[in-house]
């Protein structure tokens, strides 16, 4: 899918990827790829500004943990505010998708205009 198309929806995509529980940056990218059936294959560096922005907005919280390998790892989880924001995004997206679906459906059913 077009990268530019995804950029406008990154906040919603990242929040949705964290519904299953806390994850680190690479884990979030993998989750997005897996749940979108490989359609959303984001450039890897693009996720971090979004994570930091969402954290500043209070939609995510993060803390350091130690990975099995012994490396320091920053893990992100959704906050209550993030859950509310995702719910708003979801409702907005549903309305948008319904409207586009209706538009496409109507277009397909619309009779050809004739000029008399």
């Amino acid at each position: 899918m077009e990268g530019e198309m995804l950029k406008g929806h990154l906040d919603m995509i990242v929040l949705a990827a964290l519904v299953g529980g806390p994850a680190h940056g690479y884990g979030i990218i993998q989750e997005i790829k897996r749940r979108s059936g490989g359609a959303f294959d984001l450039p890897e560096g693009t996720i971090y500004p979004t994570l930091h922005r969402l954290e500043k907005a209070g939609h995510l919280a993060s803390h350091w943990t130690t990975a099995k390998s012994g490396r320091k790892r920053r893990v992100y989880k959704m906050t209550r505010r993030g859950e509310r924001a995702l719910s708003d995004h979801r409702a907005l997206w549903q309305r948008f998708a319904d409207a586009i679906g209706g538009l496409f459906g109507e277009k397909a059913r619309a009779p050809a205009r004739t000029h008399s």
């Binding site: 680190h24 940056g25 450039p43 890897e44 560096g45 971090y48 390998s69 012994g70 320091k72 920053r74």
Partner: protein
Amino acid sequence: MRPREPIAEFGSAVARELSFDPRLARRLRAEVEDHLQEAVADRADPHDENRLAEVICAFGDPRAFARQFLTTALLSLARRAAAVTALAVIGMFGAMEARAAWYGWVNWPASDHVRAANAIGHPVDRFAFMLAAAFALSTLAYVITRRAPAHFHATFGWEIGFSVKLNAAVALALMSAMATELVLTGVRLFEAGLDARALVPFVSLMLEVVVAGGSLSYILIMMSRCSRALRLAA
């Protein structure tokens, strides 16, 4: 396990680009190195050098990566500086009020010399302090109402520069107020000599020197960091 060399180099490059915000630089360096290590380990053959290069390439250019944090980091620096100068104003106000209250409490009347010095010094001190308070409030209101754009642009750079100048004005006004206080309290302490009553004014005066000097040093550091950050935007 230590990060493999190209990954550590990439992490260092990211940290270097973000050196204007050491806390952010440290955090992103650790996050990026962990990300790249994980991505390499996820590949079929993690020891294949080509795969390592592929992983780094997929992540992107360190400068371009760092640039994505520029606007939020700059705004955060400007907000931190405004908060520090506002706290400095409050700290100085507290020290001045404590000293004035102490003079009343220990019944320490001003001598003729002190009154003469106060007649000139007090209006200067008051004006400088009011100026500092007004600038500090304006700076806080200004930086709180700014928003970090998705991409850096000249107008945003100007806004950050303006907030730094406002902060510098606060620090200079605080230094002027502190210098005046230093003279006025100095005259009183000189007259009192080694008197136990002088302890509170002396300590409060030292506190003012530390607060005003500290805020000026902090603003100078912020100015240097902002100019380093603006180089990343170029």
